[in-house]
Symmetry: C2
Subunit: 220 residues, 2 copies
Amino acid sequence: MIKLTYAEENYLKAIYELTEAGKRSTSTNDISTWMKIKPASVSDMLRKLGEKTVIDYRKYYGVHITEEGKKLALRTIRKHRLWEVFLVEKLRFSWDEVAEVADELEHVQSPTLIQRLDEYLGFPKFDPHGDPIPDEFGDVRSRPRVPLNEIELDGTGQIVAVKDSSAAFLRYLDKVGAYIGARIKVLEKVEFDGSIEILVDNKKTIFMSKDVAGNILVIQ
Amino acid sequence: MIKLTYAEENYLKAIYELTEAGKRSTSTNDISTWMKIKPASVSDMLRKLGEKTVIDYRKYYGVHITEEGKKLALRTIRKHRLWEVFLVEKLRFSWDEVAEVADELEHVQSPTLIQRLDEYLGFPKFDPHGDPIPDEFGDVRSRPRVPLNEIELDGTGQIVAVKDSSAAFLRYLDKVGAYIGARIKVLEKVEFDGSIEILVDNKKTIFMSKDVAGNILVIQ
DNA sequence: TTTTTATTTTAGCCTTATCTAAAAAGAACA
DNA sequence: TGTTCTTTTTAGATAAGGCTAAAATAAAAA
C-alpha cells in the first residue's frame, strides 16, 4: 500500500486538478505557480512522487498522473469536498471561507471518519462550489458543464460551479445574487462586448461582463 | 504571539496532562514514556519550549508549565475534547475509538471552526470520557473528582471520568455496564481485598476489584 | 544552424523532529 | 566521602521539505 505524506498528498491533489482541466499533463512551472512553491522544490518532489509510482515523470517533459495516483488524489479530493459541505451546511461557513480550513481537514487519516461524515451529511453529490464529490471508489458522477456565456439567448440552466474560485470572485457572486444552485435564464446577449443579462430564480435580473459569465459553469 | 508547531503542541499538551494530576512538575523520562518518544528527543524539545517561554526548564531538574503555556495547552485540549464530542454524538463513534482521530483534528488551525463547532454541539461542558471542556478563555469548571474506591459504604455519586483511558479499559467498562454519566451507589466494600459492589442507575449491580474502582472517578 | 531566452534540474544549505551512542549530572548507597 | 547506578543531556546522523544559486536542457529567435 502506498503511503503519502501530508506534502505529497498536496502535490498529488494539485497535479490532479491541473491535469483534469482537459490537459493530460502539467509542468513544473505550472505546479510551482499554483502551489506557490519554488520550481526547484517542485522538481525534487516530482522525483519522489515518480519513485512512488503515483505519477509518470520524465525529466524536462512534464508530469502525467498514473491510475494509482488518480485514485489517491480523488481520495483527498473526496475528503476535502465532504468537509466543505460540513462547514457550510452544519457550521454556517460561507462558501468562500471553506477552502483554507478544508485544506487542513482533508489530511486527517481515518477511513471511518470519512464514511461516517458522508453518511451524516446525507451522501451529498456536490460540494458548495458545485464540484462533484467522488464516491469511496473514486467514481465521479459529473454532468456536462458549460460556461454561462456560451448559453444561447433565452436558454436556461443551473449554476453548478465556478472556474475561478478565488475568495474575491466568490464574494462578488454572492453580492450580486448569483450562487451555486441558482436557476438562471439568459435574457439578453450584447453582441459587441459579449456581456449578458440573466434572470436568477425567476425574480432578479443581473447584468454581467463576458469575463464573469465565462467563469461561471452551468448545466442545462 | 507565540506560535507552536504541531509537535510542540503535542509536547505541551502532554506536559499539561502530566502536571495537572496533582504534581506541579514532570520529568524528561515521564514525558518520554507517555509520548513514546526517546528521552534524548524530549530533552531537545524541552530546550526549545523553554526558549519559547511556554515552560520553565532547568536542565536536570524537570519541567514546570508557565501561565502562557497553560493557556496554549488548554486551547489544544479544548479542541481535542470538542472534536471527541462531535465524533461520539454526531458520527456515532464509540467513546473508546475517538482519541486517535481527535489527536489529529485538534491541530487544525481555525478559531472560527472551533467556535462554530462548540455552538453546533450546544456548548458541551464535558467530553465523552467525562473530562471538562475548557471555555475559550481556558477556564475549566471542574468538580472535585474522587476515585470510586474511596467512596464510603452507601455513598452515592456519578461516574465522570477514568484515569486509565486505554481502549481496552473503556471497552471493559462499557461491557460491564459502567459508563460516563452513570449514577452509582456503593452497596458493599470488601475489607480484605478492597473490592466493591455498586448499584448502577438503581437497577444493575456490578462487582469490581479495587484496581478497577481506583481507575474510575466520580463526583458526589 | 547558431544564439538567446525560458524552463527545469542539480547542488548545497537550512529547519524541524526524530534517532543512537556517548558523556555528564544527579541520586543512592556502602 | 567515594563509588555505582539512573537519569538527563549532548553530539552527530537521518529524513522530509523548503530555499537560493548555478548548471543543464529545451524552446524560440535570429
